[in-house]
């Protein structure tokens, strides 16, 4: 029994050591990191949209972490923005960094596509806007009504993607999600980024999806 116990205790100790280096130390270092002054906390609606993003698993296809251009040149050149820093995520809980780019990075989607109508139309059916997109449509975030009533957010879907008759109206969830998309705008300068070139504005010319 002594030896069996020793193996198990040894195994546990090694894991605790790893926890120290990979969990505790990064936590201490990163929680001391400066929060960029221009970063705004999420509004209640944006936070709700973030929850819709989580519930529907957008993170499995989209990252939110442009890499340093000196390391991965494509990221910035595609208009995805400057490299992100820990402070950018100060209000993110849980984090949504993502590990796939089946779709493009969304760290600055709010700056690239600032129109809420674009966002809603794209959610209703991505192919209505981008030919050949493989992103799923989210019809369940919308209602199909004969006559929109006062206060309804009508989304005009170009044929043939819309319904034959009646109107498509965004639900609260769809609106919240679209607002969250618009909130994803990190074009402000990051104070902790040493490699950032002198304060020029982010180039916005490259508005690939």
């Amino acid at each position: 029994m002594k030896r069996a116990l020793a193996i198990m205790v040894g195994a546990a100790l090694i894991l605790l050591l790893a926890t120290l280096t990979l969990v505790v130390m990064p936590y201490l270092q990163m929680s001391a990191e400066q929060v960029p002054p221009d970063l705004k906390p999420y509004t209640e609606q944006q936070q709700r949209g973030r929850q819709v993003y989580i519930a529907n698993g957008c993170v499995y296809c989209h990252s939110q972490q442009p890499r340093d251009p000196s390391f991965a040149p494509g990221d910035k050149a595609r208009g995805w923005g400057r490299p992100s820093v820990p402070g950018d995520y100060a209000y993110d809980e849980p984090h949504l960094l993502g590990t796939m780019r089946t779709g493009p990075d969304l760290f600055n989607i709010g700056a690239r596509q600032p129109s809420i109508d674009w966002q809603l139309m794209h959610l209703y059916n991505p192919r209505a806007i981008i030919k050949g997109s493989i992103m799923p449509s989210y019809p369940f975030l919308f209602r199909h009504v004969d006559e929109p009533v006062e206060g309804d957010k009508v989304v005009n879907i170009p044929p043939p993607y819309g319904p034959e008759s009646g109107k498509i109206v965004a639900t609260e969830d769809a609106l919240a999600l679209a607002e969250y998309m618009l909130a994803l705008d990190h074009t402000y300068p990051a104070p902790t980024l040493p490699t950032l070139p002198p304060k020029t504005d982010e180039p916005k010319e490259n508005r690939a999806p």
Binding site: A11, C61, G74
Partner: protein
């Protein structure tokens, strides 16, 4: 010298010191000097040289030449029977989750090239069925089958009956309830939002309890053991069962880790599920099955111990290679890359042992289903791991990180390595628990070919397409939509490969149920790929 580099140096120093101390301790305690004697503990007296699978037509079952040897065989049969209920609970559940997970995987795959497939319902949107797939196959299939096999091996390894098997049965029920609740939560949109940690933390407690209830019989049985040496398989199994509850508990501490540090905890956990949970189980099983079926001990027991401790030291620190280029301190990424490369040490030692023991015996792959599945699994462990070490290098990772290449690697590891070994183990275990042979040889063959061809298509197509996708993503001159179009054929090929794998799983599950219901003719001979003893011998 910047403070971060200083920190890095201190860590590396502490690590190597601890590693060294451990090594000195093991040597001082004679762990190494038993050497090959320990490698032989898995054989009952006189059994060495006889295959437990009787893979060769000429092999007679070994029943013992003396009464003492016969008694040892008898005792092993008793040990096997002692774990029966517990093992069957975990294995049957795992087969169910494998089927469920396969259908969700296949549906996810189809959705990636047919984006209008099943979009009407929020419960079936890609972003929900994909995590259901991952969690069902990881915590349902791989973990439950792994625990089931571990419960079978523990009494054998300790040469005694399983003590406290009923805790494991109860643990199995709790685990299943956890899966049902967790997967339903994801479907209803109540995910916690981090990959590999989607289950709401309240549900996660069930897994900690269920897992701990399996550790209980392990400890009780270890206390009762009748062997002097602890065979290397028991090292891996014991460590895995210690690691998992700790990992799962820390990573799920609700709301403890916000923002970017949450990402480090997330990936520290996710890779530890792979490295410190499913991998030790997989390697441990191969360390048992290969020598047992060949009837010869592993070639170097010393190496196997070095492999074990170096796996523990290095694998526990690799998690951050999932965040290369991400918004986290550079020293942290570097630390994980260094350890990822160092992982080649345990990988190569394990490879020498597994494949070295096979040397000269490859002919038996033609007969023994267990050996064929397990050895191919072991080989794919070597391949996936060496690939992983490369993939962790900055220069490679910058290309592969966000692409389908990673998904191919994931299935090479979780499927071609782990699932193959689990399949092989199930083929070995079931006849010994039910005292019934597998009814249809052809079905085993069919299962093998379906899943082998399926995973081959899966991995090759996504590896090639993922690499091209990664190269193209770095070049902003290539429009994003062109890259999407470029990957479409591979995504379709994945659906084909995945459909073959799913079919294979249906065959496997059917055969498993038939086995439980004792279908087919009663026979004394093991069901092997080729007609065994009588039909061949004359």
């Amino acid at each position: 010298m910047t403070p971060t580099i200083a920190i890095l140096l201190i860590i590396t120093f502490v690590l190597s010191t601890v590693g060294l101390l451990l090594l000195i301790w093991t040597i001082a305690n004679n762990q190494f000097s038993h050497g090959q004697a320990a490698a032989r503990t898995i054989f009952s007296p006189g059994e060495e040289g006889h295959s437990e699978d009787r893979a060769r037509p000429a092999d007679e079952p070994f029943t013992g030449d003396t009464s003492e040897q016969a008694q040892a065989i008898e005792a092993r049969w008793t040990a096997d029977q002692s774990s029966r209920t517990a093992v069957l609970t975990w294995l049957s559940s795992s087969v169910f989750w494998l089927l469920l997970g396969s259908f969700f995987g296949l549906a996810s795959s189809i959705k990636m090239h047919l984006p209008e497939f099943l979009t009407a319902s929020e419960f079936l949107t890609f972003g929900r069925i994909r995590p259901v797939h991952l969690n069902a196959v990881t915590y349902g299939w791989a973990s439950m089958a792994g625990i089931g096999v571990a419960l079978f091996l523990i009494p054998r390894l300790f040469k005694t009956s399983l003590v406290g098997g009923k805790y494991a049965v109860i643990g199995g029920f709790i685990w299943n309830i956890g899966l049902i609740l967790g997967l339903s939560a994801i479907t209803l949109g109540l995910s916690d939002g981090e990959e590999w940690l989607e289950f709401p933390w309240q549900v996660d407690l069930l897994f900690v309890v269920g897992g701990a209830m399996c550790a209980a019989p392990l400890l009780l049985t270890a206390a009762n053991r009748n062997v002097e040496h602890l065979y290397v398989t028991s090292w891996y199994l014991m460590a895995a069962l210690v690691w998992f509850p700790i990992l799962f508990l820390i990573a799920n501490l609700p709301f403890a880790f916000p923002g970017a540090s949450g990402a480090t905890v997330n990936w520290w956990f996710a890779h530890n599920v792979l490295g410190l949970w499913v991998t030790p189980i997989g390697i441990g099983i191969a360390y048992y099955m290969i020598p047992k079926i060949l009837g010869r001990p592993i070639i170097s027991y010393q190496l196997s111990l070095i492999g074990f401790w170096s796996l523990a030291l290095f694998y526990s620190q690799v998690g951050i290679h999932h965040l290369i280029g991400g918004p986290i301190p550079t020293w942290l990424v570097t630390l994980s890359i260094v350890h990822s490369v160092m992982m080649s040490i345990p990988v190569i030692t394990v490879a020498i042992n597994h494949h070295g023991t096979m040397m000269g015996n490859f002919g038996r792959l033609k007969d023994s289903p267990t050996l064929r599945f397990v050895w191919i699994g072991a080989l794919m462990y070597t391949v996936a791991s060496l690939q992983g070490s490369m993939e962790a290098l900055r220069s490679i990772n910058v290309i592969t990180h966000f692409t389908h290449y990673t998904v191919a690697h994931a299935h090479l590891g979780m499927y071609a390595f782990l699932s193959f070994i689990l399949f092989g183990a199930v083929y070995f275990i079931m006849p010994r628990l039910t005292n019934w042979e597998w009814p249809w040889r052809k079905l085993i063959s069919l299962h093998f070919w379906l899943v082998s061809i399926g995973i081959l298509i899966y991995v090759v197509s996504l590896t090639v397409a993922g690499w091209k996708q990664g190269v193209a993503l770095l070049d902003a001159a290539m429009p994003f939509m062109d890259i999407v179009k470029m990957t479409l054929p591979a995504l379709q090929a994945r659906t084909l490969g995945g459909a073959l794998m799913t079919l294979g799983h249906l065959v496997f599950a059917f055969h498993f149920i038939a086995m439980l219901m004792r279908q087919g003719a009663a026979t004394e001979q093991p069901t092997l790929f080729r007609p065994a003893i009588k039909e061949n011998a004359q």
